[in-house]
Structures are given as structure tokens and as C-alpha cells.
């Protein structure tokens, strides 16, 4: 593992390095899902690099961003972070992105539990929120599994299919996250340890 901060069974979180921009830009170029947002867009590795040069400067930071990596071979599979950190109210907003090949096998949820552990138990945040474009049913399903509760919907946020759609709002308190993590661990207990990972 390279410079890990939070370590799970299959994935770990570390700070993003400048060269990770290349991989993240490739994942954007290889995006195969179209239902999640208004539309796909190529992203330049230059943009990522400029972002990452400054991303770790401020202390305390306005957001924390992590690389999600596979323990098996150190591959970067996506990024995940807590944004809009409010150090007075002790709140923040999580966001996640995995390359298309790595979705739907529970890796995002494992990484999210590491991120939430970091947020609740290292930063001592009191509450966390997340927002999901309503068409992104997979993301909502993942959040529900991770303990987040529906908190409302911001109306008419963006267009999909020519119609303005809503942004679903979720919130999460530490006790709810702990219960969700216990439930998730129980389902993982008997899981096949030899999960096939994409090449």
C-alpha cells in the first residue's frame, strides 16, 4: 500500500497524487453510464493536476479528498471526499466517484465506510449530508445501505430528458452510520474473499 490513511479489507484511502489526474481523466473518458447526470463530459488531466496541486494546502481544509485504491495491487479505482467542511458546526457533504468497471461490487460502500469513519471518528463531525440527482438511483441505493436518511429534495435542479428534475438530499448521524456499518459487516462476514476484480 502506498501512503494509506484508512485501510479496509479490499480497498484503502490515501491522498491523491498529481499523477492520479491521468487515471481520473481516463475514467471520465471511459464513462459508460449515462443515467447519473445530465451528460458525460471529457475532463483534462491538466485540470486534475492543477486542482491537486492546491488540494492539500489549506489547514484546516475546506474539503478532504481521497484516492480509493485496491489493496491487491494498489490500483487507483476512484476518488471520494468530504466537501463543504464547516469546522464550527462540524458538518460536511460526501461525494464519490468510481471508474465504471469498479462499480456494483460493494467497493464503493467499503470505501465509504472508511471515509465516514474518517469523518466521524477522526474529524469528529457531528452530521454529514449527501445530495444525489434523482435519476441516479444506484447512488441513492448505495447511500441508503450506508445508513443515510432521506432529508428532502431540492426542486428543479438540473435537466434530464428535457425536464427539470430534483436533487435528493440525505443526512446521516454517527449512530446511524455505526448501525449501518455493523449491518454491512454482518453481510460481509460470510462473503467470498476471492471476489473477482476487473483487470
Amino acid at each position: 500500500m502506498r501512503n494509506p490513511l484508512m485501510v479496509g479489507e479490499r480497498v484503502y484511502l490515501r491522498a491523491l497524487e498529481l499523477e492520479d489526474g491521468e487515471t481520473l481523466a481516463r475514467y471520465a473518458a471511459e464513462e459508460s453510464d449515462t443515467f447519473m447526470y445530465r451528460g458525460r463530459q471529457p475532463q483534462s488531466p491538466i485540470e486534475f493536476e492543477i486542482w491537486l496541486k492546491d488540494a492539500y494546502k489549506a489547514n484546516p481544509p475546506p474539503y478532504v479528498e481521497f484516492a480509493v485504491c485496491l489493496r491487491a495491487d494498489d490500483r487507483l479505482i476512484g476518488n471520494m471526499g468530504i466537501g463543504d467542511l464547516d469546522w464550527v458546526n462540524r458538518i460536511g457533504e460526501t461525494g464519490s466517484y468510481l471508474g465504471a468497471a469498479f462499480r456494483n461490487s460493494g467497493l464503493g460502500t467499503e470505501a465509504k465506510h472508511l471515509l465516514l469513519e474518517y469523518g466521524f471518528e477522526r474529524l469528529h463531525l457531528h452530521a454529514i449530508m449527501s445530495t444525489v440527482f434523482e435519476a441516479n438511483t444506484r447512488s441513492s441505493a448505495a447511500l441508503a445501505k450506508q445508513g443515510y436518511r432521506p432529508a428532502g429534495r431540492l426542486r428543479w435542479t438540473d435537466v434530464k430528458g428535457g425536464v427539470y428534475r430534483d436533487l435528493l438530499v440525505f443526512d446521516l448521524l454517527r449512530e446511524e452510520w455505526l448501525a449501518a456499518r455493523d449491518a454491512w459487516r454482518a453481510t460481509r462476514a460470510g462473503a467470498d474473499r476471492g471476489v473477482a476484480l476487473p483487470r
Partner: protein
């Protein structure tokens, strides 16, 4: 400098002027102190989008009686359609909630009928009841409730998100 269309009984809104650097504690958002030198720099940093809508528009909320700045509000725009308000009220005020409520009563009709924004969204703490009453009287909808999102000296309260939805925009949404 008071905007004639944003003037109420006890407060009015106006664009920020250079002299406001002396009273930044009243209108600058955030709990940390800011001195006049930094406020002056910051005002120049944020006022660089005269003709665009890429940066939030920022206004001072001033008291009608004596022109004292009592708060600030930022209006961020997305697609020139969706507006997001962020209020900052002077920490020394006793009647912050009531003055913010009056500012909201000026801002919502302006955003809806003059700017013709499709949505206007803002966040308010559950114990800011005058502002909540004003939002509801203006026809704003509470579209989200974030539990425990605001820290108070004696515990925590929820944060509500309110939205004004501009009815004529519904036509294309049918």
C-alpha cells in the same frame, strides 16, 4: 446607493462600496474576525464579474433609520436560472432574525418577478423563527430538513432548506 426596489421599512439592500471595509464584521460571512485591510482586498477579489453571473452578487443589508450595515447577503446564480442566497447578520444585533426576515421579504419578490429566477434557495436554522415565518408567508416551500446541522451553545438544531419556485416556469415542465 440604496436600491429603490430593495428598500423596506427598517432595512434596505445596496451594492457594497469601498467604505464598507470598515464594517466588514457586520456583513462578512463567517465567524472569524476580518480587518479593514483584508476586507478591502477581498472586496476587490470578489468584484471582478461586473457583466457576468459567474460570481455571487453581494449586497449589504443596511438599517433605514441610520444607514448602518447590519448584515450581508450573497446571491449565487446557476445557469442564470437558479439562485442561492446566503445571509450573514451582524453578530452584535439583538434583532438579527427579524432584520433577515425583512431582507428576505425584499429579496424573494425581486428574484421571482424582476430577475425571473426559476428557483431561489436558502438555508435557515430551525430556531430562526421570524425568518421561517417570512419564508412561508412568501410561499416558499421547505424542501429539506438536515437534522442537527447547526451548533448552538446549548445543543444543536436542524437546518431547513427553503425554496421559492417560480410558477410560470412550470409551463415547460409539464
Amino acid at each position: 446607493m440604496r436600491a429603490i426596489y430593495l428598500t423596506g421599512e427598517s432595512v434596505y439592500l445596496r451594492a457594497i462600496i469601498a467604505a464598507d471595509k470598515e464594517t466588514a464584521g457586520a456583513w462578512y460571512a463567517g465567524p472569524f474576525p476580518i480587518n479593514a485591510a483584508r476586507a478591502e482586498e477581498w472586496l476587490k477579489e470578489v468584484h471582478t464579474d461586473l457583466w457576468g453571473s459567474n460570481k455571487p452578487r453581494r449586497y449589504v443589508i443596511a438599517r433605514v433609520a441610520d444607514d448602518t450595515p447590519v448584515g450581508g447577503v450573497a446571491l449565487a446564480l446557476r445557469d442564470n436560472r437558479r439562485g442561492f442566497l446566503t445571509f450573514a447578520m451582524a453578530p452584535w444585533l439583538d434583532e438579527a432574525d427579524h432584520l433577515r426576515a425583512e431582507a428576505l421579504r425584499l429579496l424573494v419578490p425581486w428574484a421571482r418577478d424582476d430577475l425571473e429566477l426559476m428557483t431561489l434557495t436558502f438555508a435557515v436554522a430551525a430556531d430562526e423563527t421570524a425568518t421561517i415565518d417570512a419564508a412561508e408567508a412568501l410561499g416558499m416551500e421547505r424542501t429539506a430538513r438536515l437534522r442537527d446541522f447547526v451548533a448552538r451553545p446549548d445543543g444543536r438544531v436542524d437546518r431547513f432548506l427553503y425554496q421559492a419556485l417560480n410558477a410560470p416556469w412550470r409551463v415547460g415542465d409539464a
